[in-house]
């Protein structure tokens, strides 16, 4: 059952963080094995290779694992006042497989929420600690944008020029200029020119439905492409390998993991260091499932914080309808132009923290029809009214960590190996509700200033669940956090957690850039500690 050799590092999960981590360690000639419950995504299956791509996105490409039901998926349930629509992908590349490439650095204040605003928690590291890793990540992922945004600290130029902003971007620029709000072309993980062996984006649009040519920086076409061909023959990536539990040596150190292979047989991998990168749901699920006499409440859980403090961001779409056609069938979906006018805490507000707004083209026909077109005689009129006449403002704000918002094991719904599914419980607190109200208000104001003749929004609940953070958070106090500043478990000295679950707070922007910077920093710390770690 067990592989003969003990490996240097075992990484669990080949997603955004796992891919970055594997690449970083492998190029230092570390012997890495990675266990991923999913498989490679066959490029031919990317919906946008097909005319019926909108339907495919409601079937096997649905971001809801309950709908698409890949063999790699596990059931997810959603409870609480504001239930989370859980959106994840379980495959090589993780949830980046269906992401939009809206790619942000956090700002310095995002790491100091408790000190600055008296709420939430501080990170044990700061912006300056992560800045060099943001830079490496932007180079490896291939990020397009422009340095100089007054809402970010000074930074070196980005590797790729910004994407065209299109007619929808111009509308947002006009709106912001009219209101005197700051804006900036959004940083997007998209190759605006040929880059690093990948072709340029040619603006096919609707990026989350699978970029046909790999211009969108999903981790299967960025880090994994390189990690597999690194020195020492690259990372030993095992797909269709669902980890069941992390195993321990008698002295309490992590020994490795037990996993089900493609045939459903249990196997064991042993390693000197174990890194969990299974995502904001997958990581607490696995820790809570890795019980033993020594850890009856789950591994690395002496604080009782594993699975707690789930953050998902306060999110919505505010959609402007314009009398003139917007040509909304073209342009990237990583948010052409963004405004952080309301990003930082303002004492004049009745809420703390802030949000970002990013503009995208309008919806495609099927999605639009499902949203707004009534059945019957008025159907076509509604489609004529909206199709090619909308611009979509994605709004994302900070929600603060709360113990009651959580991930638990769901023993009522098992995966195909008999492991429990994951159940989320979530409710917005009053700060999030006020922030959300202000966000919709300002989004509406912006669309109005841009000239919209009609404005609608998606509301705040159910919560859009594509940013799942905080469920095994970093911190200095072992009673209140799961891992330390180096992403190392307070309880198990050779166990590291370096994915979205490790973020103590989530900022008010899409998190993948930060998740990967944290993973790259953790890889470097593991390298620096290699003699201690054996």
């Amino acid at each position: 059952m067990a592989d003969d050799a003990e490996r240097d590092v075992l990484i669990i999960g080949a997603g955004a963080a796992g891919g970055a981590m594997a690449w970083s360690l492998a190029r230092r000639k570390v012997d890495v094995v990675c266990l991923e419950q999913g498989d490679w995504v066959d490029p031919a299956l990317r919906p946008k290779n097909h005319l019926d791509w909108e339907v495919r996105a409601r079937r096997y490409w649905s971001p809801s694992p309950n709908i698409r039901q890949w063999p790699s998926d596990y059931p997810v349930a959603s409870e609480g006042e504001d239930p989370v629509s859980v959106f994840i992908y379980n495959a090589v590349g993780g949830s980046t497989i269906g992401y939009a490439g809206n790619f942000w650095r956090f700002t310095p204040s995002d790491f100091r929420v408790r000190s600055l605003d008296g709420a939430g928690v501080d990170w044990p590291i700061g912006y300056d600690d992560l800045a060099p890793f943001y830079t490496i990540n932007e180079r490896e992922m291939g990020v397009a944008g422009l340095a100089g945004d007054p809402w970010s600290p000074p930074r070196e130029p980005l590797p790729l020029p910004p994407a065209p902003i299109g007619p929808h971007g111009k509308l947002m620029v006009d709106g912001c200029e009219k209101l005197g709000w700051d804006w900036w072309p959004t940083e997007q993980a998209i190759t605006t020119i040929p880059y690093d062996g990948r072709p340029a984006c040619d603006l096919k649009g609707y990026c989350p439905f699978g970029c046909p040519q790999g211009a969108l920086a999903t981790v299967d076409v960025t880090y994994w492409r390189k990690a597999l061909r690194s020195a020492r023959n690259g990372v030993d990536l095992r797909t269709n390998a669902r980890v069941r539990e992390i195993t321990l040596h008698p002295d309490g150190r992590a020994k490795g993991a037990l996993y089900y292979d493609t045939d459903g047989h249990v196997r064991e991998v042993r390693a000197k260091v174990v890194v969990l990168a299974a995502g904001g749901l997958g990581t607490p699920r696995l820790l809570l499932h890795s019980t033993s006499q020594r850890h009856p409440d789950g591994l690395a859980n002496s604080s009782g914080q594993v699975g707690k403090n789930l953050m998902v961001h306060v999110q919505t779409f505010v959609i402007g309808r314009f009398d003139d056609p917007v040509q909304d069938w073209r342009g990237t979906w990583g948010g052409a132009v963004s405004s952080r006018q309301f990003y930082e805490t303002d004492p004049a507000n009745d809420y703390l923290r802030g949000f970002v707004m990013s503009i995208n083209p309008g919806w495609s026909p099927l999605n639009l029809a499902l949203q707004v077109a009534p059945w019957g005689a008025d159907h076509h009129q509604a489609m004529d009214n909206y199709l090619n006449h909308e611009a979509v403002l994605f709004c994302c704000g900070e929600d603060l960590p709360e113990e009651r918002n959580r991930v638990e094991l769901d023993w009522d719904n098992l995966d195909r190996f008999g492991m429990p599914g994951a159940k989320t419980w979530y409710a917005f607190d009053s700060n999030s509700k006020k922030l959300g109200k202000a966000m919709i208000g300002h989004g509406t104001e912006l669309m109005g200033a841009a000239g919209a003749s009609g404005i609608r929004d998606f509301g705040l609940s159910p919560a859009l669940g594509w940013h799942l953070m905080g469920t095994a958070r970093m911190g200095t106090d072992p009673a209140k956090s799961v891992i330390d500043a180096d992403n190392r478990s307070h309880d198990v000295p050779n166990l590291f957690i370096a994915d979205s679950s490790s973020l103590p707070t989530g900022g008010g922007v899409n998190p993948t850039s930060t998740i990967q910077a944290v993973a790259l920093r953790c890889a470097e710390r593991i390298w620096e500690m290699r003699s201690e770690l054996g």
Partner: protein, 192 residues
């Protein structure tokens, strides 16, 4: 998905739900659109009713065909062929619509006029504990808006270019001159 629901109808999909949730059920049922096919599950009478039903959901208008003309009824039949648990929901719904037509208008549904179709379907929609109506509606929309003929007409009539998702497009590069004002503002981020 986040983009494909009506706010007022959206329910977070729960695996433990006892009522059959068509949104979960159809997840594994992908059926090609725009191909000729017959009916595999529905008998001719029910097939005819369903065709009238989908054509009431999306009626013809100018060059735009009714949903029944582009194979929406056959598409729904093919979906329930792949999802046996939904067959009962569809069959019961069709029979209920027929019964409503008989009770209210003493006629077969297919023999009713378009306004009568609407009245009967509204009555059915208002009392539909199995979610059959949104199932038929959503599948009709799918069959319609992924059909090559419809997409081509939409391109002509609304300027929405479906082919760009395959062929790509071009846009002016970003014009940095637009940033003149914003570049001149002082740093806005909080120093910590």
């Amino acid at each position: 998905m986040a983009y494909d629901w009506r706010k007022e109808e959206y329910e977070v999909t729960r695996p433990g739900r006892t009522r059959i949730d068509y949104r979960l059920e159809i997840g594994r049922a992908l059926v090609p659109i725009g191909v000729e096919r017959g009916f595999a599950v529905l008998d001719p009478d029910r097939a005819e009713l369903l065709r009238a039903w989908v054509s009431a959901i999306i009626p013809a208008n100018g060059d735009r065909p009714a949903a029944g003309e582009v194979g929406a009824a056959e598409y729904i039949d093919a979906i329930v062929f792949l999802t046996p648990r939904l067959r009962g929901v569809l069959l019961d719904a069709i029979d209920m619509v027929e019964r409503l037509a008989a009770e209210r208008l003493a006629r077969h549904f297919v023999g009713c006029s378009p306004p009568e179709h609407t009245t009967i379907l509204e009555a059915f929609e208002a009392n539909d504990p199995l979610d059959a109506f949104p199932m038929v509606r959503d599948l009709t929309y799918e069959a319609y808006y992924a059909h090559p003929r419809v997409l081509e007409i939409l391109r002509r009539e609304t300027g929405w270019h479906y082919e760009v998702a395959f062929s790509g497009s071009e846009l002016e590069p970003f014009d940095e001159a637009l940033l003149t004002r914003v570049r001149s503002v002082p740093p806005r981020y909080r120093n910590v």
